[in-house]
Amino acid sequence: MDLTWSPAEQEFRADVAGWLQANVPSEPLPSGDTAAGFALHLEWERKLFDARWAVVSWPEEYGGRSASLWEWLIFEEEYYRAGAPQRVTQNGIFLLAPTIFEFGTPEQQDRYLPTMASGEESWCQGWSEPDAGSDLAGIRSTATRDDAAGGWRLNGQKTWTTRGAFCTHLFGLFRTDPSAERHRGLTYFLVPLDTVGVTVRGFGRLDGDEGFAEVFFEDALVTDDLVLGGIDQGWSVAMATTGSERGLTLRSPGRFMATAERLVALYRERGPDAVDGSLRGRVAQAYIDSEAYRLQTLQTVTRVTGGDPPGVESSLTKVFWSELDVSLHEIALDLLGFEAELESPWMKGFEFALSGPIYAGTNEIQRNVIAERVLGLPRK
């Protein structure tokens, strides 16, 4: 066990921190889940890309620095510590890109990765449908072969598509074999949202931002080069992506450490006068939990770096960070007392945190996975 950073890693951290200090906007940007805010966030993404901080773990040829997982962790710590803007490109970078790296053709990699990294093209996720939320295998949207047109005709509806109203592209699953049941017969498509027959309707989230969209498909034609992985192979291709979503890359410890630090600062300001004697212990516990999350990540990265791929244990991580995030914000709101109901970053953060136990597989589903695949309890 060695809990020190190498000189090279320390230097990397200093570079990141230095650049962020010089470049992070002094005033927070408006929410990236609004049209105006999204545009401003894309400008920030471009700035990150130009300085090669947009996709540090990618190869140099696509705009990255071939950073190790350790360096990626360091980057994320510094990014959140600096209070830098939300990454509106994250669904592409963290969910789609790993899949393109693994399943994409060289042409697809060259075509999509650089524009994704720069923010020139932005990607939203087309997983959920009105009747396929927790149960993704219930997807009904179809892709029907049209040999005459040389491609596939998409029909159906996606929904809960985060930032769908602002993005240029969608990645998602469509049923190519209508006779197949559940997880079979699905294909993974990359879909430009300006395709004829595609209609996007934005709608509001809990916090008032227009962060969701419904996407309707009516005989929308997508050509063969927009298939990612094989025909009817969509489920296994997508599972690689959801593996990333639930795994290491999305929820970096830096996010919760930064929130815990802000909570500590709030406690120092408000806590000593608080009537509620439990707050002190609750703040300490949330801090301990954010430490635990960081350390568990170090443990996982050590294992992964040693060649052991992350597995179903990612369900443990999902349950923990999503509940920790809710808890951090609940404690802050309790510290704010009657002022909790006022507009504030804490209330906004709380509303966002409440989505954590729901998206990317509800925590109920995750607990089933833990019970069945980690503990070995019977499916039914």
Binding site: S128, D131, A132, G133, S134, D135, G138, T159, W160, F203, G204, R205, L206, G208, F212, V275, D276, S278, L279, L333, D334, L336, G337, F338, E339, A340, E341, L342, E343, M347, E351, L354, S355, P357, I358, Y359, T362, N363, E364, R367, N368
Partner: protein
Amino acid sequence: MEFGFTEDQLAFRDAVRDLLAKECPPSVVRAAWTNADGRSGGATSGGGAWHALGAMGVLGALVPESAGGLGLSELDVVLLAEETGRAALPEPFVEHVFVGAPLAVDDHPGVVTGDVTVTAGDPLIPWAVSADVVVRLDPDPVIALGTDAKFDAVSSVDGARRLARLVDATESRPLTREELSGAFWRGNLGYAAQLLGLSRQMLDLTVGYTVDRKQFGAAIGSFQAIKHQLANVRVGIEFAAPLVYRAAHSLAADAPDAAVHVSMAKAQTADVAKLAARAALQCHGAIGYSYEYDLHLWMKRAWALAGAWGDAAWHRERVARAILDVK
């Protein structure tokens, strides 16, 4: 010994429930988020529900008969507040009926019909700008009786609850110590009852959704993970309601422990409303998280009222002082 309501009290509740079903469906609550004054009448100040409640006499329920009111007690109106919570009525109902009307009626007889609206805050005052009379409990307890009051508006997570701080008012008088105390505990009772109603409605909405919603080939309400979360909410409601009703009785009877009983009720209902909100959202999943679905209107009201006029921890500390500290 009898722990229950009279036929008259229940009939009054049913009448208000029917009125609200007609005058305050969810569309009215939603409209209040974006209209001019955050109230039930659309663009005009004072909504349809408000005037209908006034016509029924509800708005002057605690005003003495000698002053034109119904001369009722807290016990007679606690169920009405619960119904306004269930409907998420976007009006200063508690602030007017439980707090302000009895204090303002001598100067403004119109409070009995709702032609004059009173609101109250401690210190954040909901619907302050559209009200005619404003009671501020803290700092400097005062009732602003005239039209010259000045406010600083602030935004609540509940878009209908237009909040402001009272900055200045020359046409005003200070509250007496007794008025302040009565106002504070009656207001908290009203909020506790509304939190109870909000909890019931969030539970009902979620039961309805999970019975209909199918995933994995079954209604999601058939899964234990859903069932047990909602069962816990139901248990919480079952053991919050009697505390609210007892507190109403204690205030009506001027019982020596009335304030402690109100604190018990407020602490319990604030906690159960937050539990209900959390479980409701989780059991709904993504649809509950969307602005177009109604759940968030109830949830945000619950968050707001849970913290207003003392949150659960504050009221628990009041109970602690009463039972733990040797006098």
